[in-house]
Assembly symmetry: C3
Homo-oligomer: 359 residues x 3
């Protein structure tokens, strides 16, 4: 519910959808088209999230939890699948990394910073924070193993490297599934996904049919706009030599994909509901790392562009830095604006380094 | 005592001892011989452990603690010394690594997983867990320093690299000795080694003479079977090209060496004695890292095949991953089956990666 | 105040000042000259610290806190600026590293070890320790980013590497400033700098004029002796081939610069004031990492020898090892002599490795 209430204000951004579509057929300059496609994806991602939550309300907590756990980052999943179809595998891996670190550093950082300015010290559940840190470490180990071993195994396209990636991806899905199963067993809600907060306004519920239609239409629109967005990557990189495909993938695209988390996470922090705020940002990171990434590895096989889990050293450094600082900041179950500022500054330094990396 | 009671059931495996010996002289296929030697080593390792504990009972807690602290991994020490004599230095380093990560991930993982399934949340002493984490980190730093600096110092056989290894090995023994001394000073038992649990059945005690004879005979048998086991390594690697010497050393041999810890650790966890269970697995890891490894560095000088502490990057990655996840899982003094599953999954992913590494 | 009382005993070392100056003009052997210059710098560093604290007493806590936060490592800052002027950039980076790890491992290690021998378990504020760990991690991330990214960006002298260093240095100063601002807001004292302990003896206060004169004279003397010290580096390295410039910078020079912290930190630990003792050592490390290092990056531009934040892998390994073990040891808010011994042993192992590294 939470999300619906907050996102409403963003729905006027839907105006960017027709503009981007018209732009595509009128030779709009690629950067302008890229920006309109980005803007258009924000409310569409919101609509997918909203209809998913509406469906969960109708299907009960178990299936609803599963829906959230699998479709929670649907827009992100679609954009990356489209990019895989186009063979932009480096862009995909960069945007997975960018989404993980963006949620941990930008979204959580802004939430802690603004919440801390308003309330001073804010508290949240230490046990959950510890579980999140363990899951972050599991994701890190899983992504690091194929990345660090592959160089000695063979080129990224060799069957052995692909086999290792597939094996590790299967392990990641098992880890994610076990964690969801554990949370079903021990709590009523599904901690790895965004919990609903207010259940008082059942009048807002969409019918099952409306939910499914909205979900379908929004998904189709996201697919179309993703194709459009991905299509502008090469022209932009060509036109602006100081913007690399890597920078687009690791900084710009994930910011778009995380706008919803950003807005909701900060709003919730400003209401001093830190458990939920941490859950939104860290939960979304974990979902991208332990579910979206391994699913993409399997999906990519269908498109003949097999994606491996071989991330470059800079992506690994960024994920390690983001995970460790998040774990440390959240370990005492208390946060303040300074800790939010720490997370934001780590993001700024990483973004700077990514900017200076040559193609 | 604990161990004796549990191991009894394994003594029928002693039948593998004569089979392996006969196999050696009847040209048994190397893999079959390897397996029989492995099986035969399990009860023999148990007998060494048992006679050591019997001796400790007779010699009082101080000397008994020292005996456990030095002979607790005697079978492992013997196998590796035999391998050093044969010049299989990479196999030795792989099996040290495998023993460390096997105890942390497989033994502790299975204990937490099965104990957690039976009891839900299980608790243990946070302070001891914190001390163990610090010791694990000390071991990691000690092993990482020669490994990471050596490449810039010279080839692994250069006198400077050997000098650094010897210096660090001496430091490790000092660290281990100080920790044992500290535990003597602050507690009655010796936390770095397996504590005895039940002292009620003194009737089971062996005489000093029996203990020494069993220790002597079992040691001789372990030496003989180790030679046999190590002798099969080259034929096996030659016959099965997908099994590397590294994989044998890091996965297969340590599993054999840790069967006793495995069985006792899980049994104790199933009795909800988590302090002891954690102590068995983590304590055994620490003993291999901070005592067996540096002792081997000095012992190897006697055989003219100087062993250095230069581990390859994959061994270091595995040890870092295993130590950090163990420290994180145990940091809150509470465990559940999900955390056990995490440890097991890290082991599976590492084993996969080791399997795909070419020779 | 603390410092004044303790340092008094060291002022007879001022005798080394004229000896070193005479030595400079009488062709004293470089190693002897180096040692006299080192000894002379100890009381001079103490005088700068003392006059800074006297000034702080006169200017009120805010400005006093700022003075401590900026001039607390003035001697170190001067030595490194002189070395930059001479173009000894590797020496500067090594001595920054050496100062960070020396404060964490040698100063804190000796304090915990000796304090623990006297008092058994010693306690300090966990919350502050957690904040310090977060700041250490921030420093580590900031120093690691340019170091690890630069190799792929270009040679160390390329404009892009310099731009990244300058950008990250600016971020570090922001991080440091925010932390000081936060501590002003939340507490009366300034946790990132050495807090005064006893305020009872105002009679010892120097006049503003005396403080400024002492500060001025001591600063001039430190500048002069630094030139002298730095001038002996090349002759020493030439004369003693087993001493590298790197070893001088990372082990010997920082020990000199940290003598004051060493003495005061240990004395305070022996009075069981562990909060202050931890603050002195860790605070000084943080000041070097987050203030001295980035300031040097900007100052170096004035001398035409631009310093970057590109540390070599060994410096990074040492800083990571020192930070992680410090964070782990201090995480439970309790220390004992064994933990002090751990820190000291890590230093010994690192120093050994630095010794064996070729030029």
């Amino acid at each position: 519910m939470q999300k619906i209430l907050r996102m409403n204000k963003l729905y006027w951004l839907l105006i960017a959808v027709p503009i981007a579509i018209i732009g595509e057929f009128t030779q709009m300059p690629p950067l302008t088209l890229f920006l309109f496609a980005c803007v258009a994806l924000i409310p569409l991602a919101g609509l997918i999230g909203e209809s998913t939550e509406m469906l969960s309300e109708r299907t009960g907590p178990r299936i609803g939890g599963l829906l959230n756990a699998t479709l929670g980052n649907a827009a992100e999943l679609i954009i990356t699948i489209v990019a895989i179809k186009e063979g932009l595998l480096e862009l995909v891996k960069a945007s997975i990394t960018g989404s993980i670190i963006g949620n941990l550093l930008l979204v959580l950082g802004a939430s802690l910073f603004l919440g801390g300015l308003k309330y001073g010290r804010q508290k949240f559940d230490r046990v959950r924070a510890g579980q999140n840190s363990t899951m972050l470490l599991m994701a890190l180990i899983a992504l690091a193993i194929p990345s660090l071993f592959s160089e000695s195994i063979g080129p990224e396209t060799s069957p052995r490297v692909e086999a290792l990636s597939l094996g590790v991806a299967a392990c990641m899905i098992v880890i994610y599934a076990l964690a969801i199963f554990y949370s079903f067993k021990t709590t009523a809600d599904t901690p790895l996904t965004r919990p609903s907060v207010e259940h008082g306004h059942a009048k807002n519920l969409w019918s099952l049919r409306t939910s499914l239609i909205v979900l379908g239409v929004a998904t189709v629109a996201v697919v179309f706009l993703s194709e459009l967005l991905v299509g502008t990557v090469h022209p932009i990189v060509k036109q602006f030599p100081f913007i690399t495909e890597f920078f687009l993938g690791i900084v710009l695209i994930p910011i778009v994909g995380n706008v919803a988390e950003h807005i909701v996470g900060v709003q919730v922090a400003l209401k001093n509901q830190m458990d939920l705020s941490v859950e939104i940002s860290v939960g979304s990171s974990l979902q991208v790392a332990l579910f979206v990434a391994p699913v993409l590895v399997f999906v990519s096989l269908l498109f003949g562009h097999p994606l491996t889990l071989v991330f470059n050293q800079f992506e690994l450094i960024a994920m390690i830095a983001a995970s460790v600082i998040t774990a440390l900041v959240s370990s005492d179950g208390e946060t303040n604006w300074l800790e939010g500022a720490h997370l934001l500054m780590v993001y700024v330094m990483l973004a700077l380094a990514f900017f200076f990396l040559p193609a």
